[in-house]
Symmetry: C2
Subunit: 279 residues, 2 copies
Amino acid sequence: MKIGILGLGLIGGSLGYDLRSQGYHVLGVTRRRSTCERAIALGIVDAASVDMNLLATAEVVFICTPIALIIPQLQQLMNYLPLTTVITDVGSVKTPIVQAIAPLWKNFVGGHPMAGTTDSGVEAAQRDLFLNKPYVLTPDATTPQTAISVLEKIVRSLGANLYFCSPQEHDQAVSLISHLPVMVSAALIASAMNETDPQVLQLAQNLASSGFRDTSRVGGGNPELGVMMAQYNRQALLSSLQQYRQNIDELTNLIQQENWAALELKLQSTAQARPNFVE
Amino acid sequence: MKIGILGLGLIGGSLGYDLRSQGYHVLGVTRRRSTCERAIALGIVDAASVDMNLLATAEVVFICTPIALIIPQLQQLMNYLPLTTVITDVGSVKTPIVQAIAPLWKNFVGGHPMAGTTDSGVEAAQRDLFLNKPYVLTPDATTPQTAISVLEKIVRSLGANLYFCSPQEHDQAVSLISHLPVMVSAALIASAMNETDPQVLQLAQNLASSGFRDTSRVGGGNPELGVMMAQYNRQALLSSLQQYRQNIDELTNLIQQENWAALELKLQSTAQARPNFVE
C-alpha cells in the first residue's frame, strides 16, 4: 500500500520511518526541495517531491503540517487525489479541522498522535515515536467505516494506543490535560514575576526548586504553541479555565475561613485522583 | 563543639550525619527510645536520649520537629539550657515561629534548610542532603550577632547556600515558589476530576501525559503538608493566591477577547522569566 505524507517535520518524518519499516511504500511532499532530499537520504520516504501530484497514487494521505496550514493545504491537495483516497491529519485540536474538512472530503478522519519532543523539523524525526503513546481518531457519524478501518490498521501498526472519540470530546479532554496546564503554569510564573518587593523577588528566584520547576515547566514553553492551543481550542479552554477558577476560589475561601478540615479533604481528593491520570 | 538536635527525622538525622563528619560532637534527643538506638547505630549522633537534659551541654541546638511542635518543644527545652545556648529551628514557615520564640529566647535564630525527600523518619536521613541547597536564616533586629555568626559557620560547613532575610520576606518568597504551586496544582487536578462527561473524563485520564504529570505533581502530594503550609503561612499564601487569580483572569480575558497578540506577549514574558527562577 502507498501512503502519502504531506509535511515532513517531526511528526511526518517519524511516521515515514515507522510506516516504511512496516512495509508501506511512503511518498513525501514538502515545501522545500532540500527537505525532500534529506528525507530520502535519512530513509524516511521512498520518494519525495515539492509537487503534490506525487501523492495522486497514495491510498492514504497524512497531513502533517502545522495546524494553521491543514485546511488550506487540504484544499489544494483535493485537486490531485481521487475521491477514494483516505485523508487524515495530525493536528492537536480536532473540532475546527473536522468541521471544515468533513464537508469537503468524505473519506476524511481527524487524527491526533499524542507524541512529540521539544525539537522540530525533519532532523528531529525518530523511529518508534508513537510506540505506546495515545493516538486519537475522531470520526463523526458521516465518516465511512472503510476509511476508519484502513486508518485503524495503520495506527495499530505504529504500536500506538488507539482511542476513538468525537472531535468535541477530544478537544474537551486535551483542554483539561494539555491546554489548561499551560495557562495554569504561565499564571504561576507571572505571579512570581509580579512580586513588587525586589528583596522578596530575588529571594524567590534563589529559593525556587523542584516544586516551582515542575509546576512552571509548561508555562515557560513555546509561546506560539500556547497561543495556537488557545486559538484553536478556545471554547473548551475557556470552559476549563472557568472550572479551574472555581477551584482556585474554593481553595482560597477554605484558607480564608481557616477551614483546615475541608482543605485537607480537598487535598486528599486531589492526591487520590492524580494516579487515575498519570503514573 | 557540642551540637544538639531535637527530633531525629529526615532533617535532624541528615544534620547529624554531616555535623559529625565536620567534627562536631552531636547529641540527639527524640521521643522514642528505639529511634535513639537506631540513630546511634547509623552513626547519626554521638549520644542520644529521650531526656532533654542530654542537650544541657550543647552550645547550639537545632529543633527539627514537625512545625506544630517547634514552639511547645522549645518551651520545654528552655528549662534545660543555659541562656547562652544558641537555638535554631528548621520549620518551613518563619514569621509565627520567630514571633513566638524571639521574646522567649534571646539567642534564637529562625532557620529553613530547603532540602528534603518525599521520605521521612530517621531511616530516610542521608549524608550531604544540604549540599548546594538553599539554607535561609531569619534573624531579626534583636538577634545577637554572636548567635548569627555561630550558626552561619555551621550552615556553611554543610555546603549549603546561605541566605539571610527577615521572617516576613522568607514567608512571602516561599509562598510564591513553594506554597502557591501546591494550590495551583491541586486546583488543576480538581478541575480535571470535576469533568462531568464520563467519556471525556475517561479520555482525559487516558491521554494525560508529561504536561499534566509535571503541573499536577505537587498538588497530588501529602495533604497534611499542604494544610500545614496554608495554616502557618496563611496571610502570605492568600496574598499570592490573590495575585495568581488576577493572572488567571487576565489570561482568560485575553482568550475571551481573542487578543492573540497580547496573549503571545504574556506567554513570551513567562517563558523569558522562568529561567530566573529555575535552571
